[in-house]
């Protein structure tokens, strides 16, 4: 299944929940509403045409107006790739956990919570693990984050 076929398939079967986003350059990128995320992911994993059984990566991003969570999925059997983006508000961002579908998501979600402050619902172990234990300076990966001993690279 190449990218066009995959796009057509997804638009015909998941058109109501997934909307195509053309920012994705090499692989397909679809946007999903935060409330639909878990149900869509479950369907994508169990769809016999797609079988997205492999969770590559989850990254958060901060665009200063909103937060994004990007799920990179792959199928080892169908050899296809798909990215899903969830857009979250900048105030009080919350996303549901997908670790019941892919246990691999556990640490990625934990990391996203720690570095971006995106709260994860239904996560079994939302504790600090990358930053040191006494960390109380907020969420360092946010674009507007600053701290007294944080030295910025001289402007280029």
């Amino acid at each position: 299944m190449n990218n066009e076929e995959l796009k057509a398939y997804i638009e015909s079967h998941y058109g109501s929940q997934l909307t195509y986003n053309e920012a994705g350059k090499y692989d397909l990128l679809f946007e999903v509403d935060a409330s639909n995320l878990v149900t869509v992911c479950e369907k994508l994993k169990n769809d016999s045409e797609l079988l997205f059984d492999y969770f590559c990566n989850l990254s958060g991003a901060d665009t200063t107006e909103r937060f994004e969570a990007i799920y990179n999925l792959a199928s080892t059997k169908k050899k296809i790739r798909l990215d899903i983006k969830v857009i979250l508000p900048h105030e009080n961002p919350v996303v549901n956990s997908v670790q019941t579908i892919w246990p691999a998501a556990n640490w990625y979600e934990r990391e996203m919570w720690e570095l971006y402050g995106i709260h994860i619902n239904n996560h079994d172990n939302l504790t600090r693990f990358l930053l040191h234990d006494e960390w109380d300076e907020g969420f360092p990966m946010r674009k507007d984050w600053d701290a007294p001993d944080f030295i910025r690279f001289p402007d280029l």
């Binding site: 994705g24 692989d27 990566n57 691999a104 640490w107 690279f153």
Partner: protein, 367 residues
């Protein structure tokens, strides 16, 4: 004996411990020699590479990402360059593609040699470690000849590679590859027939395919569990389709298979390098890319097959000279996450063997 009162105790393995390969802390709950519970704690090498990259130009990101996975720094260079090229649609010259493949495969060999050495050392045989590093030095010589560095290369750049190989590289590389291919046979003779080695590895730390996929395990560990999935073939990049090589698959998913698959991969990589040296032709080594290169706005998740599994970079460009977001995904991250699943209820010596067989490199986990 059954009414003898025993007590479980906690033991802290790391962050400074000879067999955690860096600074990982495993909190073990032990019942005598048996490990009842493993909780990995990471972050002792969290260096904020992703944050740093957001404030650098694309060319300056590459040396930073070198330190993301220093054992196969070429892959880090490559995956970032590939992502930037995919965003902006840069065509890489033919010769540069060959040079990239040669360097990537040499680096894979170097990394697997380190795996072989450290695994043997963790299981208690010290000498193979020195043999493996001896062979690795030959590869370091080749890298040094090409880009002047032994570990962090900054060689593969956006649009090509930084320097052409010197004339004496090709004969020396052929010789090295042939030597290493032979030496792998020697390693197999050294350890495979050894009953103690077999006792310590066969059937230890079994990982079945379903669990492996659920936890996002990739690379040699996934293939040792019987899943035939190699990104060089299944999500093609570069020019890997021009070479004739096998992808070794093992079925049992124990420490022994994970060790064997890497030795086999060294030999396959040797084949690829030899073929690439045969096919390579003269030509330009770099497309025209300005130092303040600005890719088109967009985002991509690019992944390649690294020696430790899938290495990926999620790169977002907003059209300026600095990347908007760089998220590096290392193969070891899910592997370490999986460790508690298969390492509970084994002996502490098995835990060490399993940890070694995962070939976890901590900067890749912590970033």
């Amino acid at each position: 004996m059954s009414n003898l009162r025993t007590e479980e105790f906690d033991i802290n393995m790391g962050p400074h411990h000879p067999s955690t390969h860096g600074v990982c802390r495993l909190l073990l709950t032990m019942d005598g020699e048996k490990v009842v519970k493993v909780v990995p704690y990471i972050g002792y090498l969290h260096r904020a590479i992703e944050k740093i990259c957001e404030n650098r130009t694309y060319a300056m990101c590459i040396p930073i990402l070198d330190r993301f996975e220093y054992v196969t720094a070429m892959s880090c260079n490559y995956v970032f360059s590939l992502a930037a090229e995919r965003l902006s649609g840069i065509e890489v010259p033919e010769r540069a593609e060959y040079l990239r493949v040669i360097m990537l495969e040499l680096n894979r060999i170097a990394s697997h040699l380190i795996f072989f050495g450290t695994t043997a050392m963790d299981i208690g045989a010290l000498t193979p470690f020195l043999y493996a590093l001896r062979e690795r030095e030959y590869i370091m010589d080749l890298f040094e000849m090409t880009c002047g560095q032994r570990l962090t290369y900054n060689y593969i750049r956006v649009g090509g590679v930084s320097k052409d190989i010197p004339n004496e590289f090709t004969p020396k590389c052929r010789e090295t590859v042939a030597t290493i291919s032979d030496k792998v046979e020697e390693y197999k003779r050294l350890l495979n027939g050894n009953p103690i080695w077999k006792m310590r590895t066969i059937g230890v730390g079994k990982l079945d395919a379903d669990l492996a996929l659920a936890y996002g395990v990739s690379g040699p560990i996934l293939r040792a569990s019987g899943v035939d999935y190699d990104l060089r073939r299944d999500d093609p990049y570069s020019i890997y389709d021009r070479f004739d090589y096998n992808i070794p698959i093992y079925q049992n998913g124990d420490v022994y298979d994970r060790y064997m698959i890497r030795l086999d991969e060294i030999q396959e990589s040797c084949k690829i390098v030899a073929q690439a040296l045969d096919q390579i032709e003269d030509g330009p080594i770099r497309a025209k890319v300005s130092p303040n290169f600005k890719p088109a706005a967009g985002e991509t998740y690019t992944r390649i097959e690294n020696s430790r599994g899938e290495m990926g970079v999620y790169l977002v460009s907003d059209g300026t000279k600095k990347p908007f977001r760089v998220k590096a995904r290392g193969g070891s991250y899910p592997h370490l996450q999986l460790l508690p699943e298969i390492a509970t209820n084994c002996m502490i010596a098995d835990l060490v063997a399993i940890f070694a067989s995962f070939d976890v490199i901590l900067p890749e986990v912590d970033r």
